[in-house]
């Protein structure tokens, strides 16, 4: 079904009754705006594996809400509490394997398991278990929204000038479609727009899967923000031609020293930003900081299917036997990064201490998905 235009697309929500999860199917954008209801663990797993939902925070949220929806169904069927708990644990185990590198997935499912174990012993017991799980999944979603907003506020403080017009450049999609809220890298853009500030955003299309042109351009345009798509070879010409105030990107993993793994193309953008004196900012929640990874060279880089390059658009765009090198991510060394922004604040070089403290504080504050 085609949905109406909210200021931000409804990336994810429970069905009425919380017995299913309604997602926006991101593989169809921008050709079709279609919601899809996930009602079984198989459907939730498939949606994550096939990138119908993507973005580390949103993957965690989807898994948590999926588990809660399954518990709600079992409770409605009159399943005893013990059996319901077994179904939920099996669902958590299965979903944890859907995308093993997305750290937020494990985290969110650990929270769901803890909520199951800690549910109050109220009667009827199966219903109280299901209620506890729906409450926890809702908390994960709500906290994510709050973290996005905080990242946006911290980053806004970095953007120079007092209400002046801003020209910003971003890569891939680190927006509302990647989170439960207003995104990571796009959060300050939404906040500045809300505050009435004139903003112009350039979005790299981001081959091979075009999350920039398909997703970032789509969500910013729906929010009424001036967005212009460029191909991945154009950021240099753009910076040479007009003032770009900042480059804003998300992150897939941040090493303890501040090196950042993010969508392929990010590193080239950072080098161009340095060459042109444009500040390069990375926005991500503290959950993206992996203190167990000392530097960027310790990050294993996933490689994509060569056919995303050779026939990614349904046509043969390279010889069908052509060799392809297609890393999903690259590593931007900390020394090219002007600031890393988390929900805890703005981190400046040298990053190790500040990031370590932020992660420790997030862990002290307990179970929040950050």
């Amino acid at each position: 079904m085609t949905i109406q235009r909210p200021a931000h697309p409804a990336t994810i929500r429970f069905t009425d009754g919380a017995d299913g999860v309604v997602i926006l199917d991101q593989t169809l954008l921008p050709e079709r705006v279609e919601e899809r209801t996930l009602s079984t663990v198989e459907q939730v797993e498939e949606a994550i594996r096939s990138l119908r939902v993507r973005g580390a925070p949103l993957i965690g949220i989807t898994a948590a809400m999926g588990v809660a929806a399954i518990a709600t169904q079992e409770a409605a069927l009159g399943t005893p509490a013990d059996a319901l708990a077994a179904v939920v644990r099996a669902a958590c185990d299965r979903l944890a394997r859907a995308r093993p590198t997305a750290v937020n997935l494990t985290w969110a499912l650990d929270r769901m398991r803890a909520a199951l174990d800690g549910a109050p012993a109220a009667a009827p017991p199966a219903i109280s278990l299901a209620t506890a799980l729906v409450t926890e999944a809702t908390a994960i979603l709500t906290e994510d929204r709050e973290m996005c907003r905080r990242m946006g506020e911290h980053a806004l403080g970095l953007l120079a000038g007092d209400g002046e017009a801003l020209t910003l450049l971003t890569h891939c999609n680190a927006g509302s479609l990647a989170t439960g809220g207003i995104g990571t890298a796009l959060a300050p853009i939404y906040l500045a727009h809300e505050a009435g500030r004139a903003i112009r955003v350039f979005a790299d299309e981001t081959r091979p899967l075009l999350q920039g042109s398909r997703l970032t351009a789509w969500e910013l345009q729906r929010a009424g923000i001036d967005v212009t798509v460029i191909s991945d070879g154009m950021p240099g010409a753009l910076m040479a031609r007009e003032r770009v105030d900042a480059v804003l990107v998300g992150a897939d993993r941040i090493a303890a020293n501040g090196d950042v793994a993010n969508k392929i193309g990010t590193y080239g953008l950072a080098v161009l930003a340095r060459h042109h004196g444009v500040p390069f900012y990375v926005l991500a929640p503290t959950s993206t900081v992996d203190l167990a990874t000392p530097t960027g060279s310790d990050i294993e880089i996933e490689h994509r299917d060569p056919d995303e390059i050779r026939r990614g658009f349904g046509r043969l765009t390279a010889p069908d036997s052509a060799a392809v090198w297609s890393p999903a991510f690259d590593v931007t060394p900390a020394d090219l990064i002007a600031a890393i922004v988390t929900e805890r604040g703005v981190h400046l070089a040298p990053f190790a201490r500040s990031l370590g403290e932020a992660v420790a504080a997030a862990e002290r504050d307990g179970k929040r998905l950050s």
Copy 2:
């Protein structure tokens, strides 16, 4: 029809009898390898306008051969010499407008007009005119082949090491498909391969029209050269990961000071090459040097149709109303270029004097397409 595999694809040739021009239709590559025979001025014009043939040298060659084929047809029909000359002049005027920015097009057609005027007054006169035009078009093609080889030889001298394995990176297509010979930027690659040197080439796919993945990968693969396609966001990650010995690109226009306009993405590649200490070489014939353009900022940049970004592969890959900024070319400032290679030799910074001398020498040597 599907053609057999030669070492290099037959980019262009006369039909038997020289009454038509057989081109490889580059818009269909790599999905289909199909030749197309051009027999009328309308067909030649359409082939140039719609990029069935592209690359500045090849555009000039196609127009010259097309004019010669039309003259051959008229002579066979018994058209009198005066009428034949009028048809040829009208064809030249029409083809000169097919792509007004391709300087080689004007040049080649000027040569054809001069050949018409200077044809020997032998009998029968119409046939001797047609023969003179076929001879001139063939000379343009042959000279272009020779210039490609010379550029390749000069550039080979720049590539370090004595027969060591080379890893090279190129952008767009500056190969045999852009010329009558072995290309400009790809010429040293073909020569090194012929000499038995181990070579590995990375080819940027080059959005929006993917000349890198569609054309460069195709022609190098057919020649048995190890080629790997990467997307336009990947050169940075590549240079960070392994040694790249040189970046080789062609040029669409070279200003008097050595600033180079070339396919969009070239400038970003030059900045990355500088950041990684990789020499950045530009290869083009002296006809690409425009002494009337003082610097790169004087070059007007053509913009492409936004739908090449929004729906370039037959699918909607951005919102259909999305704004798109799509310059066809960017400008690489001379200070990022290690050397410019023409058929006259290797030009080093400061480029102005050396380029000026090369252009003057080419003009002194007369009518050659260089």
